[in-house]
């Protein structure tokens, strides 16, 4: 998960670097391109820089056209099983203003369009929830619904110190995602936590986003 988030963050920075280039397309039909490589020297399924063309029609309908015949300067990534694209090869890529959708795919099935959507979707999430411990707490407390879960169960299972546990529980409580209840069980005082409606809604949003991210073609899961 950590690696996936790091990867996502790298992709985000990469995309950001693409979109801040305020250039004007040399040709109105080209909104995104990479330096073409001579196909003779570098087959398009190799790791050399490749070209990409997307027409305005493609942008407005947000669909990918049928792939044209591959050529050194013009081919569509979609449906090309051999296509490889390397993110590290930034030097060979140029993107022009207005390129809101870029379709690139790499070995294992990365579809940049998905990433753009995922990054957009992430804007509705509360970043304060995004730490491993808080996600674990929220998910575990959510499972027990109205039943609630005691702090000692959380501490034992998650293997965290009481200090860490309470600091994070407190943070979630302040966000009004969870509620503390003081109960007595077999003569002992216990702190139990239940998820609130607000917390459940946030958890559902996070879950849906994570699911989308994990299932994204970028992770080679397809």
């Amino acid at each position: 998960m950590k690696n996936q988030l790091i990867f996502l963050s790298e992709v985000f920075h990469y995309l950001a670097s693409l979109f801040i280039i305020p250039s004007t397309p040399k040709s109105p039909n080209i909104i995104a391109m990479a330096t073409p490589a001579p196909i003779a020297k570098s087959p398009y399924w190799g790791d050399a820089p490749v070209s990409l063309r997307i027409t305005p029609a493609t942008i407005s309908t947000a669909t990918i056209p049928e792939p044209p015949m591959p050529s050194p300067n013009n081919f569509c990534a979609k449906k090309s099983p051999h296509f490889k694209f390397y993110f590290n090869n930034k030097a060979n890529i140029k993107a022009y203003k207005g390129a809101s959708t870029i379709y690139l795919q790499r070995e294992g099935g990365i579809l940049l369009k998905d990433f753009v959507e995922i990054i957009d979707d992430a804007k509705v999430l509360n970043s304060k929830v995004f730490s491993l411990i808080r996600l674990e707490l929220l998910s575990n407390i959510a499972i027990f619904g109205r039943d609630g879960v005691s702090s000692r169960e959380l501490s034992t299972t998650l293997g965290v110190s009481d200090g860490t546990l309470y600091a994070n529980l407190k943070a979630l409580e302040e966000l009004e995602y969870i509620k503390l209840n003081k109960i007595k069980l077999e003569g002992k005082d216990l702190d139990t936590y239940t998820i609130t409606t607000l917390g459940l809604e946030e958890w559902e949003r996070v879950k849906a986003w994570l699911k989308k991210f994990v299932e994204c073609e970028c992770n080679g899961n397809k």
Binding site: I143, F144, G145, D147, V149, T156, T157, I183, T192
Partner: protein, 176 residues
């Protein structure tokens, strides 16, 4: 099946739960799990959660039918075999506290549902339930074994072999 059968089981056991009490909800969850493991089918899907075996669906149902659960109102009845199993449950777990049922159910999950060997199952229970005393752990696990243990064919063979020696000795002494 479902909550009605669960209520019938609670009624037969003699648990009159107060749904708002944390301990009572644990008792319901664990009793129903142990009975399901024994073969009284109620259709609740239990997964391993930080409290051991737990069914979120059962919790939802308990709250949705709070009045029926508390008043033990149900149209469902138990057959003879199920009644026998309940009788056995009462003999072993009668008046057990929530903690004992929790330990027993967690051991049952590892040992009988997931088929861990007894040593591994015990280890897992002790890891998960560190906050319980050795006495509570030992009692809970021993009750789970008492309720759910079924000897394997090999073990039955061994038992028969052992018994055979005694039977032969007994037959021999009768002849004399």
């Amino acid at each position: 099946m479902g909550i009605n059968k669960a209520i019938a089981c609670l009624k037969a056991i003699g648990i009159k739960p107060k749904v708002d009490l944390f301990g009572d909800r644990i008792k319901i969850q664990k009793a129903i799990f142990l009975l399901e493991q024994k073969g009284v089918e109620m259709g609740f899907n239990y997964g391993l959660h930080l409290r051991g075996p737990y069914s979120p669906t059962l919790t939802q149902e308990i709250y949705a039918h709070q009045e029926e659960v508390e008043k033990l109102q149900t149209h469902e009845t138990l057959n003879k075999v199920e009644q026998e199993k309940i009788k056995e449950y009462i003999e072993i777990f009668d008046d057990s506290e929530a903690s004992i049922l929790e330990v027993a159910a967690t051991y049952a999950l590892f040992a009988y549902k997931y088929r861990f060997d007894p040593v591994s199952a015990t280890k897992r229970v002790k890891e998960m339930k560190k906050f319980y005393s050795e006495k509570q752990l030992a009692l809970g696990m021993s009750k789970a074994k008492q309720f759910l243990y079924k000897p394997t064919k090999e073990e039955l063979g061994e038992i028969k072999k052992d018994h055979k020696v005694w039977q032969e000795a007994s037959a021999h002494s009768v002849k004399e």
